[in-house]
């Protein structure tokens, strides 16, 4: 049962990953990418790493890919023009592909066979979540916090890049707005008939 599920989900991952590159429409590419992410999460569930699977969906599918889709939908790119220059990159693509296949073959040969029968998704703990937490907050605490600092720097960088103070923009001060009372905002006039204010 698990093997059938693995073959099915694995096939979907490989197919959708290929379609990411092959699809002509960039929005379709992103949609295939999302399917690839989602199916990879399925593979993680199969080996018992359910916490990682859910995080993959929440972070990559739920947030990162949404931003991809957002940006790609907004872009106005002429893809016929873009495709014309792409033939020149074939030698590089071929080189990278050959290196990847060679590396995979080396790893495969070195480890004998790629079986995961002895794989323990939650070593020394009851659940996958506890196992990850126990390692992340003890053994790799420094690296974990460093990753946090790097993300913080990236966040501050993004804010600095986009923060502009344009002088002619009307901004609403919410405290001033909610602090307004009737007396500040309205004035009662009693004009006589036939006269303006």
């Amino acid at each position: 049962m698990a093997l059938i599920a693995f073959i099915l989900i694995g096939a979907v991952v490989v197919l959708s990953a290929m379609l990411v590159i092959v699809a002509r429409n960039p929005v379709h590419s992103v949609l295939w990418l999302i399917l690839a992410f989602f199916s990879s999460a399925g593979l993680m569930v199969l080996i018992g790493a359910e916490f990682l699977a859910m995080l993959l969906i929440v972070v990559y599918v739920g947030a990162v890919a949404v931003l991809f889709l957002f940006v790609v939908m907004m872009l106005d790119v002429d893809f016929v023009e873009l495709k014309q220059g792409s033939l020149g990159y074939w030698p590089f693509a071929l080189l990278i592909g050959v290196i990847l296949v060679a590396e995979l073959a080396l790893v495969g040969a070195a480890s004998g066979s790629l079986t995961f029968d002895t794989f323990d998704p939650s070593p020394g703990a009851e659940t996958n979540t506890e196992a990850i937490g126990a390692v992340m907050y003890t053994q790799y605490l420094l690296l974990f916090q460093l990753a946090g600092v790097i993300l913080l720097v990236a966040m501050i960088g993004a804010i600095v890049l986009t923060l502009r103070h344009r002088p002619n923009v009307k901004r609403q001060s919410v405290s001033a707005q909610t602090g307004r009372r009737r007396a500040d905002a309205t004035e009662l006039k009693d004009p006589a008939p036939g006269q303006g204010i």
Binding site: N25, V58, T129
Partner: protein, 364 residues
């Protein structure tokens, strides 16, 4: 329930799960039909109208008439639309809305320590969070595939809105996980056993935490409104500006699926709030262990189911009232509320609860 499945043998297991899924689907569809009517009736009541009252007694069959109408209408696909994505978007919305219910425990099981749920996941909360965060795709895909300006604007709005409010929902969920120490939804519900005072929204046992947890419940409720595109945060379909937002080009069955997905998500959010904050299937008054022991387990299960549904109904009533009485937010106000108020507040709450749990421990 899972033990029962295993004892039935490998052949009956999948069949039993299929049966459970069928039962859940049937009950959900029927409840949605009447909840939709309830929503319209409450809305009408606030406006001093009568609401739907022609089809069946008190208009009880209105939703079924609407269902028939949607099914029999012609599906119109705009000429410039991306056909596959256009049809796929509502199907995705509806499927995801149903899929999330697989992890919702609705009542205590007949055997001790179990619960009525299709799949009792260890990471149940994360699963719900993940599935509800996927809901945005149906809207973006629908809006983009329509190849029209209003739907596209609606899709962009919803992308920004749903991602923003997910952040604060995530932090609120973390406060609950910290109090329970588990991400299993049945564990979260059982942590709130013993009456009203133990519900996470009140948590009298850990008295200082009520200052944090009740506001967190309110933040979750408001974020749930934004997450399900309900008024006052229904900017993706704001009819006064965008006609109907991402749904403009939809009609017939695809529209029905969008509508169904939307209401399923609302009920799902109500169920999540019930489980995380309002004690799930536990009643507001604790039954003594002796009294509970003398009762047949099936009766206890049904009582649990009753409380669970009553709480969902109450929260749905609140959703409907908010729709009726609160005017729509402006988009910049929506973003300000999400990022500048809810995010810092919920982040601070995570710190406070984590500190409390570390230094005092949780009594439950």
């Amino acid at each position: 329930m899972s033990n029962a499945i295993e004892s039935l043998g490998s052949l009956w297991g999948p069949l039993l799960v299929l049966g459970q899924i069928g039962l859940f689907t049937l009950v959900l569809l029927l409840s949605i039909a009447f909840l939709l009517l309830l929503d319209r009736k409450i809305w009408a009541g606030v406006m001093m109208r009568k609401g739907p009252n022609v089809v069946g007694p008190f208009g009880l069959l209105q939703s079924f008439a609407d269902f028939g109408k949607f099914l029999l209408k012609e599906i119109v696909i705009p000429a410039g639309a991306n056909k596959f994505v256009f049809i796929f978007a509502p199907i995705l919305t509806c499927t995801l809305a149903f899929a999330a219910w697989a992890a919702i425990p609705v009542a205590p099981g007949i055997e001790g320590g179990t619960s009525w749920v299709i799949s009792d996941l260890n990471v149940g909360v994360l699963y719900l969070f993940a599935i509800s965060s996927l809901g945005v795709y149906g809207i973006i895909m629908g809006g983009w595939a329509s190849n029209s300006k209003y739907p596209f604007l609606g899709a962009l709005r919803s992308a920004a809105q749903m991602v923003s409010y997910e952040v604060s929902i995530g932090f609120v969920i973390i406060t609950v996980i910290l109090m329970v120490g588990s991400m299993n939804l049945s564990d979260i519900v059982n942590n709130q056993a013993g009456g009203l005072q133990n519900w996470h929204a009140f948590s009298f046992q850990n008295f200082p935490l009520i200052v944090v947890m009740f506001p967190m419940f309110v933040i979750f409720f408001i974020s749930a409104l934004a997450e399900t595109n309900r008024p006052p945060f229904d900017l993706p379909e704001a009819e006064s500006e965008l006609v109907a937002g991402y749904q403009v080009e939809y009609g017939s069955t695809p529209y029905l699926l969008f509508m169904l997905g939307e209401y399923l998500n609302i009920v799902l959010m109500c169920a999540m709030m019930t489980i995380l904050f309002l004690g799930g299937w536990h009643g507001p008054v604790a039954i003594g262990a002796n009294a509970a022991g003398s009762m047949p387990p099936l009766l206890l299960s049904l009582a649990g189911l009753f409380w669970f549904m009553l709480k969902i109904l109450f929260l749905f009533f609140l959703f409907a009232m908010v729709k009726a009485i609160v005017p729509r937010y402006r988009y910049d106000q929506l973003m300000r509320l999400g990022w500048k108020i809810f995010l810092p507040t919920s982040l601070a709450a995570v710190l406070v609860v984590a500190g409390y749990v570390t230094y005092f421990g949780v009594q439950s």
